[in-house]
């Protein structure tokens, strides 16, 4: 009922946000802003109000949207358009957009009904998990720029980044492996059927003339397995062989060759059954393990570099005329215009009188920094407030931050850093098997030559590395899933192995251990008048000290005043004259503040005017609630380091909360952080780096395992090995412990498959191996290893608190 609607219940019909007034209304439907109302009107006009029936308040608030009309002008640039399109012919074009805002059924419905909004759109399809939409449109009907404009008007602005343009995305699921698995499974199943008479050869199930046919069919079915399904293993084994190494695939290839040729010999020369079904089973289970390990988190990107963050287009000023060009065409010396909330794409000099730059993107520090005319502004900052004009000093690919990416740490993958456990074991395994096989051959050779050959090949066949090769992928694959369920997303399975060896944990401070949003400022002393506040505002906005930022933030949006003779002593304080009075703000020693006050934890900043002690600010760093507990529980087992770009003013209070054993390093630039990790690595430490900002990107890359901490996993995170949701921060010790345990599980399951091999080999050396034993032993060992690793990882995860029902 409209009459009983209370003020507090005014919710925007589009986005569900509280509305302050009901002036924007259509009938009973109230809107919080013009943007939301506009979207509704467009949808209503096109008969698309089902959007609002599927979910309540499906829209995104349109309040903060930048509505600059020429924002998408760069999409008129034909080369940019061509790079974005998936497909184009004379009639139609196809394009895929990444739209992070897709979040509910209504979104899917609306985006798939775009053709009802605009005649030029043929059809569109949403991939909800990847948050992507593919649109097919008529070239005559709508341009790409208009399409993006339409989507953005509806509240679904596509995220178009440089990286997406640079490289066309590849399919995340490895279809080739799945195809190989399908072929192996098909052949394996049929071969088992044709082998049944062989299993029950004593029972004479079937007439003799069928046996030959069945065996020949088995050979035909084995060919695709040997030639197609197994081809990756030959390649990998050959590569290892060329480098004089033995990896897991060498014994596998050895087994495949022995099985195949021995079976050929048995079938054609002796007219026996052979072991083709076991060969099919071997590859089927191996490939199954491979696919299981390939768990990917489709929406997360682990390999982002600066290109993913930088804007795709920038406004350039040419003779006072604005033109929008792609960032790649930006040149040194260009004048660019950066508006409110826009990112600075390249290191530039400020030409406007002042700018307020938010570097949160880079440092995690969310208080904007005041810059004056002529100062250098680094790429990655975001302008807050009115538009500013800048002169580009360096090309976007060579700025202060992007230089990090030219470091060699970014060039090579980390996979080669650690030789997987399975590779080291398989070396021993291969040699042992070869020695046993030749031993058995030598033993029988003098008395019974055919038996000697049989024993030799039987050992190679039965010492199947199948179970051995499967324990690693299944343990790691399952660990990956368990981590993912606890909101810790690993790039691939090899990260679990590297995590197990970690002995040093390095934290970034701002944004990782501390949360700038939780910082608290308390003022004690004489009440501050509006004038005093304005004086303070102008004082602190001159300083780049983090404590000044805190106070600046606390003061809020108030006008600042003109001060005379302002002067900052780095790390001590700042002073200025106002109407002839000396105002000092800073440490007790600097200001001369001597009155006693409570000495609780925190940083103190004192205010003294003309020698009168007015009061002091007590500032608490917004340490994450769990930070202390996490650090303390890691303490005895791991060496701990803390890297911070800030001043060391918080060291005392941090030490108190985090314990004494952590190594503090302040005033670290992004490349200092990278070098610091490099040094730790040189000392043989296995490092885990937890960071959040772009300034940690180098360190994250240099560490053995780099973890990016983030509040919204689909949004911003630097290139890393793993992405950790901030809500799971307190689980870091559990994750590390679990990774160690999974390594133990791999070792245990190696032991288990070793037992099977001993049993099989002891039969083989006596030359009494039969197809039945082989057919039973092989799947049994594989399946039991899979069951063991899966159960064991689940039990361990449950004990470590990673598999609570809540997480499921």
């Amino acid at each position: 009922m409209p009459t009983t609607t209370q003020k507090s219940e005014l919710k925007c019909y589009h986005c569900g946000e509280q509305c302050e007034q009901d002036s924007l209304a259509i009938g009973e439907k109230i809107f919080c802003c013009q943007g939301c109302k506009l979207v509704f009107e467009v949808l209503a006009e096109n008969n698309l109000c089902t959007y609002y029936d599927l979910e309540s308040f499906p829209g995104e608030s349109q309040k903060s949207k930048t509505s600059r009309a020429n924002r998408f002008d760069y999409l008129e640039d034909q080369s940019t358009v061509d790079q974005l399109l998936d497909f184009k012919n004379e009639r139609e074009s196809h394009v895929s957009f990444y739209i992070p805002l897709i979040h509910c059924a209504s979104c899917i419905w609306l985006l798939e009904n775009l053709y009802q909004v605009h005649q030029g759109i043929i059809s569109s399809r949403v991939d909800f998990i990847k948050k992507k939409v593919q649109v097919k449109f008529l070239n005559e009907g709508i341009s790409l720029k208009e399409l993006v404009g339409l989507l953005s008007m509806l509240g679904y602005e596509p995220k178009i980044s440089l990286a997406a343009i640079d490289q066309k995305k590849t399919s995340t699921v490895d279809r080739r492996t799945v195809k190989r698995l399908a072929v192996a499974g098909f052949c394996f199943g049929n071969m088992m059927l044709f082998s049944i008479p062989e299993y029950f050869s004593e029972a004479e199930l079937i007439a003799e003339n069928f046996r030959g046919l069945f065996n020949y069919l088995n050979v035909i079915l084995a060919l695709p397995v040997v030639l197609y399904s197994a081809s990756d293993y030959y390649l990998s084994a050959w590569n290892a062989f060329k480098q004089r190494q033995i990896n897991m695939d060498v014994p596998i290839v050895l087994g495949i060759i022995a099985l195949f040729f021995y079976s050929l010999w048995e079938i054609f020369a002796l007219g026996n059954g052979g072991y083709m079904d076991s060969l099919g089973g071997l590859l089927f289970f191996l490939l199954l393990g491979k696919v299981y390990q390939q768990k990917t988190f489709a929406t997360l990107e682990f390999d982002r570099d600066y290109k993913s963050y930088f804007p795709i287009a920038v406004t350039r000023l040419v003779q006072d005329r604005e033109e929008v060009i792609p960032v790649t065409k930006l040149e040194v010396g260009d004048l660019i215009l950066v508006r409110d909330e826009e990112l600075i794409p390249a290191d530039s000099l400020l030409m406007s009188s002042s700018a307020s730059i938010d570097y949160s993107f880079v440092t995690g520090e969310e208080v904007p920094v005041l810059k004056r005319k002529g100062e250098l502004i680094y790429a990655g900052g975001k302008q807050k407030g009115e538009a500013v004009i800048l002169t580009v000093q360096k090309s976007p690919s060579q700025g202060y931050l992007t230089d990090l990416w030219n470091n060699e740490a970014f060039e090579k993958g980390k996979e080669k850093l650690l030789e997987p456990l399975s590779n080291r074991i398989s070396g021993v395994f291969t040699w042992t098997v070869l020695i046993i096989a030749t031993g058995a051959f030598g033993f029988w050779a003098s008395s019974d030559m055919p038996l000697a050959v049989k024993a030799f090949t039987s050992v190679l066949i039965v010492a199947c590395p199948c179970a051995l090769a499967m324990s690693t992928p299944f343990t790691l694959g399952n660990s990956l899933r368990i981590f993912g369920r606890s909101k810790f997303y690993l790039k691939n399975a090899s990260v679990v192995e590297r995590m197990a060896l970690i002995d040093t944990v390095v934290f970034d401070k701002t944004g990782t251990l501390t949360d700038p949003k939780r910082a608290k400022v308390d003022y004690q002393g004489d009440p501050l008048s509006e004038e005093t506040k304005s004086i303070l505002k102008s004082l602190v906005s001159r300083s780049s000290h983090p404590l000044s930022h805190r106070i600046n933030f606390w003061l809020g949006e108030i006008p600042s005043l003109n001060l005379d003779g302002a002067e900052e002593q780095k790390g001590k304080g700042i002073q200025a004259y106002y109407k002839g009075q000396l105002i000092r703000l800073g440490s007790a020693a600097f200001t001369g503040f001597s009155s006693s006050h409570s000495k609780e934890i925190g940083n103190y900043v004192y205010l003294v005017i003309e020698g009168f002690e007015i009061g002091y600010f007590r500032i608490l760093s917004g340490l994450r609630a769990e930070a202390g507990q996490v650090v303390k529980s890691l303490d005895p087992a791991y060496e701990l380091h803390l890297l911070s770009g800030d001043h060391p003013h918080e060291q005392a209070s941090l030490k108190e909360k985090l314990g004494p054993s952590i190594h503090f390093n302040f005033l670290q630039s992004p490349s200092d952080k990278l070098d610091y990790l490099g040094k730790l690595n040189q000392f043989g430490r296995q490092t885990l780096m937890v960071g959040d900002g772009l300034n940690d990107a180098g360190a994250i890359q240099k560490s053995r395992v780099g973890v990016a901490l983030t509040d919204t996993i689909t949004h911003f995170s630097p290139a890393s090995d793993a992405i950790l949701d901030a809500t799971a921060f307190h689980l870091i010790p559990n994750f590390l412990g679990f990774a160690k345990q999974s390594r133990k599980i791999i070792k245990l399951s190696f032991g288990l498959s070793f037992l099977y091999n001993v049993a099989g080999v002891s039969l083989a050396v006596q030359g009494i191996l039969s197809p039945v034993i082989c057919a039973v032993l092989m799947p049994l060992s594989s399946i039991s290893v899979v069951v063991f690793t899966t159960l064991a990882t689940n039990v361990v995860a449950w004990k470590r608190g990673l598999l609570t029902p809540k997480n499921n």
Partner: protein, 62 residues
């Protein structure tokens, strides 16, 4: 007993057909997105939605 030859041929042809169908489905992208279709099927087709505008079979995602 000779009928077994025929049965074997039939079973192999059948199995190969399924394998080929599986490849076709995979190439067409049917396994790329296993979540969205579960939501899509619940949408009502409104009268305004004309059949010829709507793609009738899943199109590839390449």
């Amino acid at each position: 007993m000779e009928v077994i030859f025929l049965l074997i041929a039939v079973s192999l042809v059948l199995a190969i057909t399924f394998l080929v169908l599986f490849f076709k489905a995979m190439k067409g992208g049917q396994f790329d997105d296993d979540y969205t279709p579960s939501i899509r099927i619940l949408f009502d087709n409104h009268k305004k939605t004309t059949k010829k505008d709507q793609p009738t079979k899943p199109k590839s995602y390449e």
